[in-house]
């Protein structure tokens, strides 16, 4: 992978935050750029559902998506601690953290990660989610990388605000509800595509995303039209 420059990422993010951008797509892109920029294995992002829980929103890889979901399911892990305390959580060596998260830690090690950090997504006094950084080498997520990761988490927060500010003067409640339901619609669309084309959900998401990029369509609009049957994906190139 070519070395990616910080400036390139910031320019790309700024370019993305224009009228009509898709929030979930933006957050996925951000998790991918975060991996490239920080030179780490994976990232995942969880947002509050405003009912007291975190929900999966975006991840750079399928394995990380599963690990993020696992944290939510077993109700433990760095992302949850970070969300609840509002403070960054950094674990240089996961092998020493089995007592802290007896269920999450073995699952993370099994996935191939040796270190993890969780960075809060903060809006004014409120914590709206957390960004998780994972890497396969112990102690590789240095304080510098965490600072940069925090800057990217802040961009994600701005993206969430921006998406709505463009449309109407509105509240955080609406912004987060939009993100939550966009995510649900994408899951529903993944099911439709998986069933039609005999794919697994991860492949179905890739398919959806490739078509949305290639045809310059908003990810969640395309997903919605696939679920309500008003649109089908063009045949995949084989």
């Amino acid at each position: 992978m070519a070395k990616i420059q910080l400036t390139d990422v910031f320019v790309e993010m700024a370019d993305t935050l224009v009228v009509g951008f898709d929030l979930i797509d933006f957050l996925h892109l951000l998790t991918e750029r975060c991996v490239q920029l920080l030179g780490i294995s994976a990232t995942g992002l969880l947002l509050t559902d405003q009912r007291g829980a975190l929900r999966f929103t975006a991840a750079s890889t399928e394995q990380t998506r599963l690990l993020e979901l696992f944290q939510v399911q077993v109700d433990e892990g760095p992302c949850l601690d970070c969300f609840r305390s509002g403070q960054p959580v950094s674990v240089p060596d996961l092998f020493g953290a089995v007592d802290r998260w007896p269920q999450f830690t073995p699952a993370a090690i099994e996935t191939g990660y040796a270190t993890v950090a969780a960075l809060p997504m903060r809006l004014r006094n409120e914590i709206i989610g957390a960004l998780n950084l994972f890497d396969a080498r112990p102690s590789s997520i240095t304080p510098d990388k965490q600072r940069l990761g925090q800057a990217l988490a802040d961009i994600a927060t701005i993206g969430i605000l921006q998406e709505r500010a463009i449309r109407l003067r509105d509240t955080l409640t609406q912004q987060l509800e939009t993100a939550l339901h966009s995510r649900i619609i994408i899951e529903q669309a993944k099911g439709v595509i998986a069933e039609r084309e005999g794919l697994d959900p991860g492949q179905a998401f890739e398919r959806l995303r490739n078509v949305s990029r290639k045809h310059n369509r908003r990810l969640s609009d395309l997903a919605r039209m696939i679920v309500d049957g008003s649109e089908q994906l063009p045949p995949a190139l084989t």
């Binding site: 829980a53 619609i185 069933e195």
Partner: protein
């Protein structure tokens, strides 16, 4: 929803029901209690563009529904259209008056100073809108919003019971609203729309009915569907699904 909050909310709904089957009215009564409003109502989106009010806690709530229907504007119209909560804390203020010139002044005339509308939806499934009103202006606090959203989730499940006449869907259980948090549930819903050639609403109702009939957790059944251990067939008689 966090389990520690889901349970007290559900207990509150059951308390309202006092041993009878849970209805929209019982959930709405719980909404009034936890969000500090004065009344609530529910309108459903029907296949026609006309909203159908199915419940109002009192005359003022009914009046708010009626105004919305007659004037064709107001927070609950916007909540339905945008699919997002519309929380209007000051009906007499300039923001509300410019956004809904007719509705805002009529609402104030009947003594309503704040209107909070929460859409009843699960992804693409749009069922209707929960509207609450308060005689005093002012924002809801965070806890009231989150409890309102959680109760709106329970309402969604309750309303879905009547979605598919072919299926006797179960009433929601305490942990049902929490199960909806799992992505497999929505992926399975999408898969079932293709397997049965039905809408997402009906697919979701079938999934829940199957879980209920087999006394299994929704997310476990959904996982079986996603892993292709379970498939729903259009014409099977009793189960609406068969393993393979």
């Amino acid at each position: 929803m966090s389990p520690d909050r889901a349970l007290p909310l559900w207990s509150m709904v059951l308390e309202q029901a006092a041993g009878t089957p849970v209805t929209v009215g019982h959930v709405c009564a719980a909404v009034v209690r936890v969000t500090g409003v004065d009344g609530s109502s529910v309108a459903l989106t029907t296949s026609s563009p006309i909203r159908e009010a199915v419940y109002a806690s009192d005359e003022t709530a009914a009046r708010v529904e009626e105004l919305t229907l007659t004037l064709g504007e107001g927070p609950s119209i916007d909540a339905l259209r945008l699919g997002e909560p519309v929380l209007s804390a000051d009906m007499a203020g300039t923001v509300a008056r410019s956004r809904w010139p007719l509705f805002a002044s009529e609402a104030v005339a009947v003594g309503v100073q704040a209107v909070f509308a929460l859409p009843l939806r699960i992804g693409v499934i749009h069922l209707g809108v929960l509207t609450t009103y308060r005689r005093r202006s002012g924002d809801l606090i965070r806890r009231q919003v989150s409890d309102g959203l959680a109760l709106a989730d329970i309402l969604c499940l309750l309303l879905l019971d009547g979605t598919d006449p072919a299926v006797d869907t179960p009433l929601p259980e305490a942990d049902d609203a929490e199960e909806v948090r799992y992505p497999e549930v929505h992926q399975a819903t999408g898969m079932i729309t293709v397997q049965l050639g039905v809408t997402a609403e009906i697919a979701f109702a079938r999934l829940r009915a199957f879980a209920f009939a087999h006394n299994r957790r929704l997310r476990d059944v959904a996982r079986d569907v996603v892993a292709r251990r379970l498939r729903f067939e259009p014409d099977s008689d009793d189960d609406y699904a068969c393993g393979r």
